[in-house]
């Protein structure tokens, strides 16, 4: 049967979970069922889906899809529920919410909303609107993926719009992929294809990564393995070489930056007596001084060159420092605002996410937090360490709780220094137990709540702790619009392909019905899906024709030339300031200096922390854990899809030297543990990871036995829950030990 089958209707939609994509899908629908999926076959550049989008039918039609509202009848976390009607579920939720509000106030209601759904309409938006209408709620801040990179981007450039169009990399003479693995994390569709074209053009590519990643292996001419958490030391030593040998772009520094002298004081020992030489960095990073110095000279000498500083090295304790050091290196070599260069930073290019993407000058005095319309947080002052004088980036409101500390906040409340005593959690598009750090403490926290509601498609480890679970439909069963993940110029219209399965509903419809029982003004809920989506697009001048977008499923915006962030600031500085307090690129950031706290130095520094590779704890736990992304999943989504699962078993990667020392064989069962927890999974013994480092891909579902040993392989059982001052999550800063499974391999019943 070919696709010309007359009974087959092709519905234009797109994949919309939290990978680095956002791709075109064409659902072949016959008799109300999606029978096949194709992707973009249209004009260039095609937005081709990856394996995950291609596997979507097994997610949509999974026998594990939640079918009805569920009420917990077992212990929290046990997973025993009974089906109830929507009327019963919503009535009970509304009654509990009224009760919690009356007894403890709105601040005791916590919303946890993550990236499980990336449409503009469904997911967090309607839940937030509903809770706001109900009198407000406590919310969280700090995005695990990028908070460190975002903070550094704001501190250096005053904006997160620091990226260039991918095709501009063809103008580079050297591309450095630092902790950046687009073969797996996508980084906008077409990025890996562009990296191949760059390689085919003969442009040299260097990869810096503790792992010989798929990207390093496919694109790079040189691979430099580096100890996790030490990237800033290598970048700082590169700056030392460049400035010591006078290879910098002095005219650029003079014209466009502030604070080079303060940085030199640090580099050349005036500040602390330590010269930040390549030899200094070698002992920290494990990268030879020669390799560091050579790369520094090569980067400074290959103008223009693109240093792409991925987010993952910033997903670490003091991760902001790595990202700051990378940004500053791009500036001192004059690689900002020029074709073929790259400013690093947050790296958004085309800014389809912000409706207003005109440049905004930083406010000189903004002691008051911005209004968010949420009564619980309006009027709260900016939180400590926030870059509250700048416009954009993370909302600095001090009434918010950092995502890594949400569990601790639930357990300790105001007495623990948090803004609220949390009694109830409303969780949407989030498998937070699995994806926030320190899972076992998370389980303890979720158990302690008075009431917990979860919107979900599957019985996730998080949903098992809920009092009520509401079944949510997927993007195949509703209309929405997907903006590109980071910085490509397009939108995808997600046309509904099939009716909602079982009794599932959209997040919007759930909130529409629940809001009636909460006696709140209808607000957005008086409008239907289409009205709201039209409203969202009306505020954007890059979607001229809503109906055409809906029909075609995708709007590809033609740019006159590739985006190069800060081109106007560099070409015409008189009339174009950087949106920082100084109006220049801030090597030395005055906003940070005012904080006068060694944890947020005004210049980038290498700062060891409690779980550094050479800290005291490394005697007990000598291996550094990194928790990378998996090609089979987008975080914890797709975990339970057989077509994806079958590709390779979930395992912990370790080098053969570390395996031999411990008597570990490839695919043998091992325990990975530290003081926070223990998990039991197969080992993958490989040369593709440096000795001393182990990798567990994050996102596998937590599955503890009676003794608390996780057999699911959830990496966050082992991760720290202490974020950096700038908000960087410490997922790649955990020390662990590995040993062969003590009791053979069997799982205790």
């Amino acid at each position: 049967m070919g696709q010309t089958d007359k009974d087959v209707k092709i519905v234009n939609t797109g994949c919309c979970h939290d990978c680095g994509g956002r791709c075109v899908l064409k659902a072949h629908v016959k008799n109300g069922q999606v029978i096949r999926i194709e992707s973009d076959t249209g004009e260039d550049p095609q937005i081709r889906a990856c394996m995950r989008g291609r596997a979507y039918r097994q997610r949509l039609y999974s026998p594990d899809r939640l079918q009805t509202p569920l009420k917990r009848i077992g212990e929290k976390g046990e997973g025993k529920f009974k089906p109830i009607s929507w009327e019963e579920a919503l009535t009970e939720i509304a009654a509990k919410m009224h009760q919690v509000k009356a007894t403890h106030g709105n601040a005791s209601i916590l919303m946890v909303a993550s990236g499980g759904n990336q449409g503009m309409l469904h997911g967090a938006l309607p839940v937030g609107a509903m809770l706001q209408g109900f009198g407000g709620f406590t919310r969280s801040w700090g995005i695990a993926s990028y908070e460190g990179a975002m903070y550094a981007s704001m501190a250096t450039y005053g904006t997160i719009r620091t990226g260039n169009s991918r095709e501009d990399l063809l103008n580079s003479k050297l591309v450095i992929m630092w902790g950046w693995n687009p073969a797996v994390t996508i980084w906008d569709p077409g990025t890996s294809l562009m990296m191949s074209r760059i390689r085919e053009k003969g442009i040299r590519i260097v990869a810096i990564d503790p792992r010989y990643s798929d990207s390093a292996a496919t694109f790079a001419d040189q691979w430099i393995p580096i100890r996790p958490g030490t990237d800033s030391a290598m970048l700082i030593a590169m700056a030392y070489v460049i400035l010591d040998e006078e290879l910098q772009d002095q005219a650029f520094i003079d014209l466009h930056t502030v604070g080079i002298d303060k940085y030199k004081d640090y580099l050349f020992g005036k500040e602390d007596g330590v010269h930040k030489t390549p030899q200094w960095a070698e002992t920290i990073t494990g990268v030879s001084a020669d390799v560091i110095a050579t790369l520094a000279r090569e980067y400074a000498g290959s103008s223009p060159a693109a240093l792409i500083a991925g987010w993952s090295p910033a997903r670490a304790s003091f991760g902001e420092q790595y990202s700051r050091a990378a940004n500053v290196l791009t500036a001192i070599t004059g690689n900002v605002g020029v074709n073929g260069g790259y400013a690093s930073g947050f790296m958004r290019a085309y800014s389809s996410r912000e409706t207003n993407y005109k440049r905004v000058i930083a406010g000189k005095d903004s002691k008051k937090a911005r209004s968010t319309g949420n009564p619980v947080e309006d009027g709260a002052p900016p939180r400590q360490y926030s870059l509250h004088k700048l416009f954009g980036g993370t909302n600095p409101n001090s009434a918010r709780i950092h995502n890594a500390k949400v569990f601790d906040a639930i357990l300790r409340g105001k007495e623990g220094g948090y803004p609220a005593d949390i009694k109830m959690a409303y969780i949407v598009a989030s498998n937070c137990l699995n994806q926030h750090p320190n899972t076992r403490r998370g389980a303890e926290a979720l158990k302690s709540l008075d009431f917990m509601v979860v919107h979900e498609q599957f019985m996730t480890p998080t949903a098992k702790f809920a009092d009520i679970v509401l079944p949510v439909n997927t993007f195949m069963e509703r209309n929405d619009i997907a903006p590109p993940w980071l910085g490509s110029p397009y939108y995808i219209y997600l046309n509904k392909a099939v009716d909602s399965l079982h009794e599932s509903k959209s997040d919007l419809d759930i909130c529409r019905e629940l809001s009636k029982k909460l006696d709140i003004p209808p607000g957005m809920f008086q409008f239907d899906e289409d009205d709201i989506l039209q409203g969202i697009t009306a505020s954007r001048d890059d979607i001229p024709d809503y109906e055409a977008m809906k029909r075609d499923g995708v709007v590809k915006i033609k740019l006159k030339e590739p985006i190069v962030s800060f081109k106007e600031q560099i070409e015409d500085p008189e009339n174009n300031a950087f949106p920082t307090l100084s109006g220049k690129i801030e090597i030395y950031c005055e906003h940070l200096a005012e904080m006068n706290d060694p944890k947020v130095p005004p210049i980038p520094k290498y700062m060891p922390h409690e779980e550094s590779h050479d800290g005291p704890l490394s005697k007990t736990y000598p291996l550094q854990l990194i928790t990378s992304h998996d090609k089979k999943r987008a975080h914890s989504t797709w975990h339970n899809v057989p077509w994806c699962q079958d590709i390779e078993p979930h395992s912990v990667w370790l080098n053969s030297l570390d395996a031999t020392k411990r008597g570990i064989i490839d695919q043998g069962s091992v325990d990975v543990f530290n003081d926070r927890g223990r998990l039991r999974i197969p080992a993958k013994v490989t040369e593709r990871i440096m000795p001393g480092v182990v990798d567990i891909r994050q996102g596998a579902w937590y599955d503890p036995d009676e003794e608390g040993v996780d057999h699911g392989g959830c990496a966050n059982v082992l991760t720290r829950d202490e974020p950096s001052p700038g908000g960087a999550h410490p997922m790649n800063s955990a020390l662990v030990q590995i040993e062969p499974t003590p009791d053979g391999a069997g799982r205790k019943k």
């Binding site: 096949r36 999926i37 291609r54 596997a55 097994q58 294809l193 496919t218 691979w223 393995p225």
Partner: protein, 190 residues
């Protein structure tokens, strides 16, 4: 006779498995034992000097297929028009019905496969005959985010890509003459 062949640019492959899953979706292969398109990984070397390559393994539709030669039921044939190797499920004796299932051992690429149903019949990649008939490329080709795959006559492929018939993880056989053409990944260690 035209011989359709499979071109694989190994230097581009990132091992993402999109082609393999697209194949399963298009042909609705729900069983884990059915992988018309397989992705193999080749790892060599010792840290930090490594070499990594992937290879996409469909059926290479050999000019003299070893599976066809050993089939006791003459269920495997080669289409005259395009050289595509197909299996006739009516003739195939089935996994239990066929005493030795010699097609399984004859093929070095593990292209002949059996599902889990009782006496399942042999099945394999058919270059998406249904799509070819509509003038489309096979789903793996259309799916590849790296534009690393192509199906065309061997003549056309050779004109475009040269005559390289070996790649990492694949050895050409003059006996069976697989209809495959590669841009192989040079064995350079990191």
């Amino acid at each position: 006779m035209t011989q359709l062949g499979f071109y694989f640019n190994q230097t581009r492959c990132i091992g993402c498995h999109t082609c393999a899953v697209a194949c399963k979706d298009w042909h609705d292969h729900q069983e884990a034992t059915i992988n018309w398109m397989q992705i193999n990984t080749i790892e060599k070397g010792v840290f930090p000097h490594l070499f990594l390559a992937f290879i996409a393994v469909p059926c290479y539709h050999c000019e003299d297929p070893s599976c066809m030669a050993v089939c006791p039921a003459d269920a495997i044939s080669k289409r005259a028009a395009d050289g595509i190797v197909i299996v006739d499920p009516d003739k195939c004796l089935g996994r239990e019905g066929c005493e030795k299932t010699p097609c399984l051992t004859a093929c070095r690429s593990s292209s002949p496969q059996f599902g889990l149903a009782p006496n399942a019949k042999m099945q394999k990649c058919d270059f998406c005959l249904d799509r070819l008939e509509e003038g489309k490329q096979p789903i793996c080709v259309e799916a590849c985010p790296m534009f690393a795959l192509e199906i065309d006559s061997m003549e056309n492929l050779q004109q475009k890509y040269g005559k390289q018939q070996a790649a990492e993880g694949f050895r050409y056989s003059k006996k069976i003459r697989p209809a495959a053409l590669f841009t192989p990944k040079p064995e350079v260690f990191s």
